[in-house]
């Protein structure tokens, strides 16, 4: 159940950013979560809600955008959607494939007052 640790990470980033902008209330938090992460969105939201109680992020609307798993072939430059976690380039069969989307665990933006 590492969602609690992730939720704490989100809260820390949000509170720090809000403080830098002199905000008194965080209304919305937009997250990017890659498809190849071990995150259960409902569990993450539940943990965040519990942790945010008593802070300026209490009651914030947390929105999660799931990012697709996309590979980039380092040999031929082909970008492709990775299915079945098979990281072989469909164009040139190269095994040298970089993940360019799908590993995000990112606070994208906040709406603050």
């Amino acid at each position: 159940m590492h969602e609690m640790a992730l939720a704490q990470g989100i809260l820390d980033v949000a509170l720090k950013t809000a403080a830098q902008h002199g905000a008194v209330k965080i209304g919305r938090i937009k997250l990017q979560v890659g498809k190849m992460t071990h995150v259960e969105p409902d569990s993450l939201l539940f943990c965040f809600e519990a942790l945010a109680v008593g802070s300026i992020a209490e009651g914030a609307n947390v929105e999660i955008e799931i990012k697709p798993l996309i590979g980039l072939c380092r040999d031929c430059g082909k970008e492709f959607s990775v299915s079945g976690y098979y990281f072989i380039c469909p164009e040139c069969q190269s095994a040298s494939v970089e993940i360019i989307s799908g590993r995000e665990l990112t606070v994208e933006h906040l709406e603050v007052e």
Binding site: H2, I10, M36, A95, V97, L105, E108
Partner: protein, 233 residues
């Protein structure tokens, strides 16, 4: 007001992991994060590894465990320094935990630290702890479907060891399918099939570890932080 952030949720942990790695790299120490399900044979692999390598490589172990010190006691009997971290129910080690215990080791007299993570194929895959490499142990009794069910841990590992292959005749484990899936998830990983019970295949694992230690020492001396390694054959 909308504020653009684009900060990684694990940023604080990753930064601390980087600090831990720098501390250990300055001593030329290779750090391995050893992962796998409960019961896959991580601790037995460690016992075998220590027995085989301790004459050539000065190593220490950090043991992650939810509540007990059973594994640390097993490692202690092998005669190498060991530090126990109890996560008190926590499902993974994080960089802060490692950072807070490494001062308990005499870093100037080590070539390698192996950190045995909490038995779990999910959470530990997300948390960097200052390692140079991850290795995942998968045992045949878990079933060949596990790489595709838990792809991240296999993708992020530099080595995968399929353990308990002596039990293959007694299970329905499809070794070819498992190897095919692991190679698809991580074509660049070193893949070893072994049995910690019989010793079969372990030489390849030792060779991989020795190569990593050597590489780290070479990198470290290139950076002007030369440390005299213990006699190497």
């Amino acid at each position: 007001m909308e504020v653009k952030v684009m900060t990684d949720i694990l940023d604080a942990n990753d930064q601390l992991a980087h600090t831990v790695n720098q501390k250990l790299s300055s001593q030329g120490i290779f750090v391995l994060n050893l992962l796998g399900s409960p019961g896959c044979g991580k601790t037995t692999l460690l016992e075998k590894t220590i027995a085989a390598l301790k004459a050539d490589i000065r190593l220490a172990v950090i043991e992650g465990d939810l509540f007990t010190s059973k594994d640390a006691e097993r490692i202690e009997r092998q005669g190498v320094p060991v530090i126990q971290i109890n996560t008190a129910g926590g499902c993974h080690l994080d960089a802060g935990m490692i950072n807070s215990v490494i001062s308990g080791l005499d870093l100037s007299s080590l070539d390698m630290i192996i950190i045995e993570n909490v038995g779990n194929l999910v959470c530990p895959a997300e948390f960097e702890i200052g390692e140079d490499a991850k290795a995942t142990v998968l045992s045949v009794t878990e079933g060949e479907d596990k790489p595709l069910k838990y792809p991240l841990v296999f993708r992020k590992s530099q080595a995968v060891l399929i353990n308990k292959i002596d039990l293959l005749p007694y299970t329905d484990f499809d070794l070819d399918a498992a190897m095919h899936d692991i190679k698809g998830i991580n074509p660049e990983a070193t893949l070893v099939t072994a049995s910690c019970r019989t010793g079969q295949g372990l030489d390849e694992w030792y060779h991989w570890l020795k190569t990593q230690v050597k590489k780290k020492q070479n990198r470290s001396s290139e950076n002007g932080r030369c440390k005299q390694p213990k006699s190497t054959n």
